[in-house]
Amino acid sequence: MLAAGEAANPWFSWEYVQDNRGDLEQALVDHVLLTVETVLVAMLIAFPLAVLSYRYRWLAGPVLGVTGVLYTIPSLALFAFIAPMDAFGLTRRTVLFGLVIYALLVLVRNTLTGLQGVPPDVREAAAGMGYGRTRMLWQVEVPVALPSIMAGVRVATVSTVALVTVGVVVGYGGLGGLILRGFQNNTYKAEIMTASLLTVALGLAFDVLLAGATRLMTPWARRRS
C-alpha cells in the first residue's frame, strides 16, 4: 500500500533497466573483467603450488594450511588489511588482490586432489613408455586430473562473482556498486533487485559455460558414461 504522496518503488521495473542501460552494462563489464582476471591470476599461482605440493609431499600441509587460514578471513576484513597499504589503497588492485587470495584455496585443493587421484598404473605405464617428468605432467597427469581441476575452477569462479560485490567498500564492486548505490539512494528497489539478479545470473552463466568447457576438454569422460 502506498502512502499518500509516496512515489511507487517497485522491486521489478523494466523502465529502470531501459533508463540505466549504460550503468548496468558498465557494471556488468567491470564485474566480468574482475572475475576473469581474478580466476586467471589465482590459477597462475595455485597451479604451481599444487604441482609442488604434489611432488614434494611435505609442502601440501603448509600450502593448504596457509591458503585455508587466508580463506577463513572475512572478505571485508581482508580488504581492510589490503586497502591501508600504500601500494593498494582504494583501487581496483585491492579488490583483485583480495579476490585472488580467496580463490587460491579451492583451486589448490582441487588441483592437488586431481593430481593425487591419477592411478599409479597409469603413471607407471607412461614412465614405461619413456615419459619424462614434464611430459608426464602435461600429457598424462593434468588431463587425468582435469575434471577435478575444472570443478575447482567452477566453484572459484562462481564464488568470485558473488564476492566481487564486496569490493564496493573500496569503490570497485562491479554490480555491487549498483546494489549499494540503490540502497543509499532512498532504497531504490528496482536498482537493488536488478543488480542482484544480474549478479546471480552472471554466476550461473559462468557455471554453465565452464561445465560445457569441461565436457569439451574431456571427451573421454563422456564416452565412459
Partner: protein
C-alpha cells in the same frame, strides 16, 4: 560515493592501529568493541538457530523418504551464486527495515544450504541394513527416523552446524554496509571516515573472531563426537 574517496597515507598506520586497539574509548558504549562483538555473536546465533529450524526438519524428512537429493544439490549450488551483500541489501530494503532483524533473516537464508546438505547426506548415509533391521523389529517410519537415522546422522548434522556458524560469523561483517550492527561497523565506519588505523584495527578484530570460530571449540566440535563419522559434505 563517499567510500571511494582517496585516503592520504599516514606512514605509521600499523602503529596507529595498535593505538586504536589500546584506546579505552573504543571499548565503551554501543559503538565499543565489547558491545559490537556481543551484537555480532547474537546476530550470528539467531541466524543459525532460525536456519536450523527450517533446514533440519526438511533435511530429515527428505533424507528419510530418500527424495529431494537433486533439490538439495541445486539449493547448495545456486546459493553459492547469490551474493550475501545482495541478500542483506534486499532484506534491509523491505518493510522489516535495516537493522539487526533484517540481518538475521538474510543470514539465516544464507546458512540454510550448509545445514540442509549435511543433514540430508547424514540421514541418507545411514547403513541401509541398520534401517532394514529397525523396520524388521516393527519400528514405524517416524520411530526409524527419530531413534535410528537421527542419532546416526548427528556427526554430519554437527558438521553442518560448524560450517554454517563459521560462515555466518564471517559474513555477518557485511551487515554493516547496509546499516546493520556487529564488528563490521568498525571497518565500514573506518572507510567512511577515511581512518586507516581504524580500518586496520577493525579488520584485525573481525579476522580474529572468524579464526577463533573456525579453529576454536566450535570449529572442532566434532572432536567431541563418537569416532568413525563420515566426511562432512563441503559447502564453501
Amino acid at each position: 560515493m563517499s567510500l571511494a574517496a582517496v585516503v592520504p597515507v599516514p606512514m605509521s598506520t600499523l602503529g596507529d592501529a595498535i593505538v586504536w586497539l589500546n584506546d579505552p574509548l573504543n571499548y565503551e558504549g554501543k559503538t565499543g568493541v565489547p558491545y559490537l562483538t556481543y551484537e555480532h555473536l547474537y546476530i550470528s546465533g539467531f541466524a543459525v538457530f532460525f536456519a536450523a529450524l527450517v533446514a533440519l526438519p526438511l533435511a530429515l524428512v527428505l533424507g528419510h523418504l530418500g527424495r529431494g537429493g537433486g533439490f538439495t544439490v541445486v539449493v547448495s549450488n545456486v546459493s553459492r551464486a547469490i551474493p550475501t551483500l545482495a541478500l542483506l541489501t534486499i532484506f534491509a530494503s523491505t518493510a522489516i527495515g535495516f537493522g539487526n532483524r533484517a540481518t538475521i533473516i538474510a543470514l539465516a537464508l544464507f546458512a540454510i544450504p550448509a545445514l540442509l546438505t549435511n543433514a540430508y547426506v547424514g540421514v541418507r548415509e545411514v547403513d541401509p541394513d541398520v534401517v532394514e533391521a529397525a523396520r524388521g523389529m516393527g519400528m514405524s517410519g517416524s520411530a526409524v527416523l527419530l531413534r535410528v537415522e537421527l542419532p546416526l546422522a548427528v556427526p554430519l548434522i554437527a558438521a553442518g552446524f560448524r560450517t554454517a556458524s563459521v560462515q555466518v560469523v564471517a559474513t555477518a561483517t557485511l551487515a554493516a554496509l547496509v546499516g546493520g550492527g556487529g564488528l563490521g561497523r568498525i571497518i565500514t565506519d573506518g572507510f567512511g571516515q577515511q581512518d586507516r588505523p581504524q580500518i586496520l584495527a577493525g579488520g584485525f578484530l573481525v579476522a580474529l573472531l572468524a579464526l577463533a570460530f573456525s579453529f576454536g571449540p566450535v570449529g572442532h566440535a566434532d572432536r567431541y563426537l563418537p569416532a568413525g563419522q563420515p566426511e562432512p559434505a563441503d559447502t564453501p
